[in-house]
Point group: C2
Chain length 177, copies 2
């Protein structure tokens, strides 16, 4: 673990906040992240994030597979979370804490993903509860969609929109989130 | 929806049980499945399944993407669940409700999956809590591993151990569970 006196991180206004949350090991795990997002009131009037969603948030950024986040990942996550929250609130106009399936498809389009009606249908079936999508599930969906898309693009070096996966690599890419 | 008087399903001893759980729509959704598994005491001294795990159990078998299970899927799920439970209990010898990471790797091998140490590491990082794997997370892992492997194999028609995925198909395969 790096950082410390005089490093660029130490001059960052978020650094003190990060170190307080991270505790002795200097990294943030899923329980610490859940506590921090709940205490910070990040979800506002929405239900707090489930531990499950916090785990996949970390998995998304955890490229060295330690199950924890360093400072840069922590900041990267907050940037992503703010974007997803803004996006969600744009569609949850009545602040019910849920969006409807057809709004979900607009939200996914607004994030720049171009997916087929079948893929959209799969996503909505997976993430709805009683026909509605709650903020926690919405974020879980965004995390997975981003991580899977990143994994795909990293392998699609010729940008052909197609990737040949060996079985083991497919499992690594898809079981991590 | 099929079944009814004189059909093979109606003569099946599990049919009455299924219809009682399924309710009026004749299919089992995630909430109904959770209630049924809890009331049946399926998890025994282990914690009941989370709704999240019940949702992916249904997603695994839900090939028409209705978010619900018919009778045949219901029976298929019970067969799979019994296998996973036996497998888990074989490694959880002290009945603590958890297995250790190295036992997890033996369990995955025992189920017939051949994956690399890196893939194993990814799986353990994703599904452990405090360094241990609980039964609920174990089953969630088994469900995903089975669904992803099935999706992969269905496309690997020449059995070459490699599949070329277009982006949209990759998302359909991986976001459904
Ligand atoms: Ca920590
Ligand atoms: Ca709403
Ligand atoms: Ca039902």
């Amino acid at each position: 673990f790096q950082g410390g006196f005089g490093s660029p991180a130490a001059n960052d206004p978020m650094w003190g906040y990060f170190t307080a949350i991270a505790g002795q090991d200097g990294e943030v795990d899923a329980e610490e992240l859940q506590r921090c997002l709940t205490q910070a009131g990040f979800t506002g009037s929405y239900n707090p994030f489930s531990l499950e969603t916090c785990r996949i948030m970390i998995a998304m950024l955890d490229r060295d597979f330690t199950g924890k986040m360093g400072f840069n990942e922590f900041k990267e996550l907050f940037t992503a979370l703010n974007g997803w929250k803004q996006n969600f609130m744009m569609f949850d106009q009545d602040r019910s804490g849920t969006v409807e399936p057809h709004e979900m498809s607009q939200a996914i389009n607004a994030m720049g993903y171009r997916i087929s009606p079948q893929a959209l249908n799969v996503i909505i079936k997976r993430y709805n509860k009683g026909g509605r999508i709650y903020f926690d599930d919405y974020v879980a969906c965004c995390v997975k969609l981003r991580a899977l898309t990143d994994n795909f693009r990293r392998r699609d070096t010729m940008q052909q929109g197609a990737v040949s996966f060996r079985y083991d690599d497919f499992i690594v890419c898809t079981m991590s989130v």
